[in-house]
């Protein structure tokens, strides 16, 4: 049995937030899907609201303070990422984008990602495909085929079986991608001894 680490990035602003609610459902379903396949998982949640000022400071200072750095380390060190944003002005929120702006562009290469979004109206339902997928394509992460969008009506009443089905399908896809991978892979250490000798660098010039 392998224990995977899953980082949940939630950009919801209110408390309780439907974004966090969706993120929690996706995380729970992913853990269950992994257990059903004989693995286990630990979940760490990064609430971006808690880092709103840290992120603004990073934009001006160029570096992450300790609190933000810990959040970034959690995300880039995880075996998989569940990333959920509210829809603001027809796209992911600025807070969500700012977080992925300050994550190193190479830090999520090959990381399996489950994408989720919430909005007040179902008319935003393709936001995962037209806004979030291109962002994670740029980061060369590996988003699973099913993205989960939830509008207000998905939370209304007891008849949310369609949402439950999408959550379970997406979680199953993430678990399947994870199964084929070694756990605990980390980004390369830039301060390891160079693999290219300086003589080679000189010749290349």
């Amino acid at each position: 049995m392998t224990t995977r680490t899953i980082a949940v990035v939630s950009a919801g602003l209110s408390n309780p937030s439907s974004t966090r609610l969706l993120a929690d459902r996706l995380a729970t379903a992913t853990v269950e899907a992994l257990r059903a396949r004989g693995d286990d998982a630990t979940v760490e949640v990064v609430e971006l609201r808690e880092h709103a000022r840290d992120l603004a400071d990073h934009l001006t200072s160029g570096f992450a303070n300790k609190s933000l750095q810990a959040a970034i380390d959690t995300v880039v060190g995880a075996d998989a990422v569940i990333a959920v944003t509210p829809v603001f002005s027809a796209s992911y929120s600025g807070l969500f984008k700012t977080f992925f702006d300050v994550v190193d562009k190479d830090a999520l290469i090959g990381t399996p990602v489950l994408l989720g979004a919430t909005a007040g109206t179902a008319r935003h339902s393709l936001v995962v495909e037209y806004a979030m997928r291109p962002l994670f394509a740029y980061l060369r992460a590996v988003p699973v085929p099913t993205g989960v969008f939830a509008a207000s009506e998905d939370w209304a009443g007891g008849g949310d079986t369609a949402l439950v089905g999408r959550v379970e399908r997406a979680a199953g896809e993430l678990a399947d991608v994870l199964l084929g991978r070694p756990a605990g892979t980390r980004p390369a250490d830039p301060f390891a001894d160079p693999t290219t000798s300086f003589e080679e660098l000189l010749k290349g010039s």
Binding site: F191, D193, F198, S205
Partner: protein, 380 residues
């Protein structure tokens, strides 16, 4: 250990008065600041190189040459010399010339420059920053060490039978530091040649400095220049001091809040805890600076940034008085007491000449049209 100041040479409005110095005032103030540095007993004055407003330091050896003429002991250096966009031939010529007029009181620090638009003005591309630094510096070394250079590379027109004049003073090129905040390749370059490595150590968390210096020391040893703790390390630092700590904070805050580079972001209190910036009493500066050694080991050069963000000249000169009279004498004594004997001092022209077995004139004479002797035959 050497102590000094480094300046980026920015023209920034004083946010407390709204007044912007003229370029003439700022250039003259750089000279005044350098003279003050020597007067208060500092060892090094280093000046940046920029080719865009709001900077006035596009021609460093002009200013440094003038300062050389008006000082006796001060070592003149750069912070940094743009090895990416400046022709290495021009660097070789300018700094060998400065060596002669300054009687050897010259070293320099290589930097890449991180302002994207500057590169195309010099026919270069910022994405080639590292390869430019590697190729150009290798050529610069050869221009100083070989009387006649045949060379071709990727970034510059080839050279056939080229002699860079004047030849370095006493046949010994200036010592070179390499500065970089985050690029291990530059620390690797410094280690490969056994040159010095300088971390600007301002505006960024000290963890960046520690990672880079550790890497440089390890690679310095790998390349056989000595043990890791004998590598030549320099650090920057930024301080603002008043007798009473709270007075320093109150006076510096309006400059901090809107400063170029880091203004409009973290508070002064956050920034001083997250980066090496120290705003407080001379005693606080002494304690913080002595603490740098805890994460970089025994090092050879400490430069302070004293004159940016629109601080008026009068204030900068007061700061230099405090630095020279109250801070550096204590640091000199304390660091010297801590440094083991096998850790070298920063190389100077005198120490490099001694290491080379004494100075020798390396003047290269033109082809003799009577005997037909060429530069090549004269130097072989």
């Amino acid at each position: 250990m050497q102590f000094g100041i480094f300046t980026v040479g920015d023209v920034t409005p004083d946010p407390t008065t709204g007044r912007t110095p003229t370029e003439a005032e700022r250039l003259k103030s750089l000279v005044t600041i350098a003279l003050k540095a020597e007067e208060v007993g500092l060892d090094v004055f280093a000046q940046g190189q920029h080719h865009n407003p709001p900077f006035v330091v596009s021609s460093p050896t002009t200013t440094l040459g003038y300062i050389a003429a008006r000082t006796e002991k001060l070592v003149l250096s750069t912070s940094t010399t743009l090895i990416t966009t400046t022709d290495p031939v021009k660097i070789a010529e300018d700094f060998a010339t400065l060596q002669h007029v300054a009687d050897g009181r010259v070293d320099l620090m290589m930097g890449r420059g991180n302002t994207g638009p500057v590169y195309p003005w010099f026919g270069k591309d910022i994405r080639d920053g590292i390869p430019l630094a590697v190729e150009n510096y290798q050529l610069l070394r050869r221009l100083w060490r070989e009387d006649v250079v045949d060379w071709s590379g990727q970034f510059r027109t080839p050279l056939q039978g080229f002699t860079s004049t004047p030849r370095p003073l006493d046949g010994v090129p200036p010592f070179v530091w390499h500065g970089s905040i985050r690029s291990p390749q530059i620390a690797e370059q410094a280690a490969y040649y056994g040159d010095g490595f300088f971390h600007n150590h301002i505006f960024w968390p000290a963890s960046h400095t520690q990672q880079m210096v550790e890497f440089y020391r390890r690679r310095f040893e790998h390349y056989g220049h000595g043990s890791a703790d004998q590598a030549i390390v320099g650090l920057g630092g930024q301080v603002f001091m008043r007798k009473n700590s709270q007075d320093a904070v109150e006076e510096f805050r309006p400059y901090f809040d809107v400063a170029p580079v880091y203004g409009h972001g973290p508070s002064l209190e956050e920034f001083t805890s997250q980066t090496p910036l120290t705003v407080g009493s001379p005693q606080q500066v002494i304690e913080r600076t002595l603490g740098f050694r805890d994460y970089v080991g025994d090092y050879q050069r400490q430069l302070f940034l004293m004159d940016h963000a629109g601080l008026p000249l009068k204030t900068v000169l007061e700061q230099l008085d405090i630095l020279g009279e109250e801070v550096v004498p204590v640091l000199r004594r304390e660091f010297a007491a801590l440094k083991p004997a096998h850790v070298p001092d920063a190389p100077t022209h005198a120490s490099l000449v001694a290491a080379a077995g004494g100075g020798h004139d390396t003047t290269v004479h033109a082809v003799d049209d009577v005997t037909g002797r060429t530069v090549e035959s004269a130097t072989r």
